[in-house]
């Protein structure tokens, strides 16, 4: 079963007869009709909570969002689908942007949306950044190393939990480790800190200050930092870092 079929199955099980009839009617519309249906969806479809869908990692989603993604898949298949979707991006409100970014990995040719996806990383709207960053396979599959590193760094900069990023450990790299070490020093100078789990991205790389940094963590009053130092020194498997997967204050 492909993603579209999976989505439709969930929509069918959750939607009322009226909601389903509205959707069926819109699915046979032309690309303009599909675009408008995307915009109108929350006026026609309730925000019914969607449970976990196998093969689709958008937890805590709502029915109207699911319908939006489904409409986008259909719209993308139209001849002028790309330009229609570009317009939807340009005129989108916050929830529309979230649906658009969530839909990227399941659209027919995900790679053509790379410019939009990297824009989302620049967004200052929390939910928009989160839509591309968390639980979304798009960045790990399509982002260049530079774009990937920006995503991880911005996530830490905004005090958001990095462990929700898909492919986090697989895409760890030397350039990111160097940047993160610098960033941690900046934070320390300002009397702030980085969440302890950030050090998991540095553990397999040699940075200029690695030894001093581990020493500093080990001597920290913060038990999470002590734990991070211990995990690095003992060369613990990734699994052991799970205990640090939590939000931590930066002050």
């Amino acid at each position: 079963m492909n993603t579209a079929e999976l989505l439709y199955q969930s929509i069918q099980s959750l939607a009322s007869t009226t909601e389903l009839a509205w959707l069926e009617d819109k699915l046979i519309a032309d690309s303009k009709g599909l675009s408008l249906a995307f915009v109108m969806a929350p006026r026609q479809v309730a925000k019914t909570r969607v449970g976990i869908i196998p093969g689709w990692n958008w937890q805590n989603g709502t029915l109207d969002q699911l319908v939006r993604v489904y409409l986008l898949i259909h719209l993308a298949e139209k001849e002028d689908g790309k330009s229609r979707i570009e317009t939807l991006f340009d005129t989108a409100e916050m929830n529309e942007l979230v649906a658009l970014y969530r839909a990227l990995p399941v659209l027919p040719t995900p790679e053509i949306w790379l410019h939009r996806a990297t824009d989302a990383v620049r967004s200052n709207m929390g939910p928009v950044f989160d839509a591309i960053a968390f639980g979304n396979p798009y960045p790990t599959t399509y982002f260049s190393e530079l774009a990937w590193n920006q995503l991880v760094l911005k996530c830490i900069f905004n005090d958001k939990p990095i462990h929700l990023i898909e492919g986090l450990d697989e895409r760890a790299n030397q350039a990111l480790a160097n940047t993160l070490a610098d960033f941690a020093h900046e934070r320390w100078a300002a009397g702030r800190r980085v969440p302890s789990q950030v050090w998991r991205l540095i553990r397999n790389f040699q940075t200029e200050t690695k030894e001093q940094d581990i020493k500093r963590l080990a001597e920290s009053a913060d038990p999470n930092d002590q734990k991070a130092a211990e995990l690095i020194l003992e060369n613990s498997p990734l699994e052991a870092w799970r205990v640090l997967e939590k939000e931590e204050t930066a002050y």
Binding site: V39, K47, E93, E96, N124, G126, F129, G191
Partner: protein, 339 residues
């Protein structure tokens, strides 16, 4: 869209207030919060795009739980469609997010303002994209539209947008002109009726003593903009509520890029309280009537904000709140330490 560059006054406005009013207003300003404890407010007209986070903080602290931001004139003309598009998108996106960080529910109305209706070539293009925005979530009406100079072009686009509102079942927020106000207001209402809009779907804004009776008599909602120094003084507002009661009357701040006060509603509520207006009447003109009129859009659900902004569960991922945008929104303004 409340100031007129053609009038070279220090504080141009819809209304002139007396020195006495100014004095009372200043007294209330010192400690208005003491009179508004436990009150909640709904500002149906405030241009937050022009305001800072300090204003959002002050609104939240003063009990403002929900606001409507009408699309308006940004102070200098736009030269292309793209700047309209980006502005409308910011009203439903960025500004909505900014507001949510302070626990305030943000709605907006979308429209082509009267001043820029006079650039017909551009106005045509804007009309093309309006329906796309009017259908969006949290868009509670067409606004603010109406007359400025009362030109033929203004009338043309006012009528066209009334048709859009009717077609989509949305309320209309009507800006009434600064100059030749009484005639402009009558004309705005007559045209709305001519297009078959129900008066209860139309909020006539920026009223004064001269316009209020006719607006209420014809069944429209009557909104009053309270501005410091020069617009509707809030003492005059108290007199209007005393005379006309609280049915279909609402106050707003219309705070924008000009000298204006986002706290106009709580301050006016305090003055009403001091002047003996009942709590029930204060609640109607500072909250309920705004809610009732714009809820006719089907886009306002009071329980989303009445007990504090409910964080949409879809904004959580694996149980983590993901609403933060990079900084803790609340800071202690009285602390001399900035960290």
């Amino acid at each position: 869209m409340c100031q007129n560059p053609n009038e070279h006054k220090l504080n141009p406005s819809h209304f002139e207030g007396s020195t006495e009013e100014k004095q009372t207003a200043q007294e209330v300003e010192g400690g208005f919060a003491a009179y508004t404890q436990g009150m909640k407010f709904f500002d149906p007209h405030v241009h937050m795009t022009s305001r800072t986070t300090d204003d959002y903080q002050a609104l939240a602290d003063a009990g403002v739980v929900a606001i409507i931001e009408p699309a308006f004139w940004l102070g200098q003309p736009r030269t292309g469609l793209a700047s309209f598009k980006d502005y409308f998108a910011s009203l439903v996106g960025w500004e909505r997010f900014r507001s949510s960080q302070f626990g305030i529910k943000h709605y907006c109305t979308i429209g082509l303002n009267s001043r820029e209706a006079n650039n017909e070539a551009l106005a045509e293009e804007v009309m093309e994209i309006l329906p796309l925005f009017l259908q969006k979530e949290g868009v509670v009406g067409v606004g603010e539209i109406g007359f400025d100079d009362q030109t033929a072009a203004e009338e043309k686009y006012y009528r066209a947008q009334l048709e859009l509102a009717k077609e989509m079942g949305l309320p209309v927020q009507v800006h009434t002109p600064h100059r030749d106000k009484k005639k402009g207001t009558e004309r705005s209402m007559a045209i709305a009726l001519e297009h078959g809009l129900a008066p209860h779907m139309v909020v006539i804004d920026h009223n004064n003593e001269e316009t209020v009776k006719s607006v209420l008599d014809q069944g429209f909602y009557a909104a009053f903009t309270i501005y410091p120094f020069t617009k509707m003084g809030n003492e005059r507002m108290v007199e209007i509520v005393k005379q006309y009661g609280s049915e279909r009357i609402m106050v707003n701040s219309a705070a924008d890029w000009g000298i204006s006060d986002p706290l106009a509603i709580p301050k006016t509520a305090a003055l009403m309280k001091i002047k003996g207006i009942s709590d029930a009447d204060i609640q109607k003109v500072t909250y309920q009537n705004a809610l009732d009129s714009f809820a006719q859009s089907g886009q306002i659900n009071e329980k989303d904000f009445i007990d504090g902004l409910e964080i949409d569960q879809s904004l959580k991922f694996n149980g983590n709140t993901v609403l933060r945008g990079g900084q803790a929104p609340r800071i202690d303004k009285n602390s001399i330490f900035i960290r």
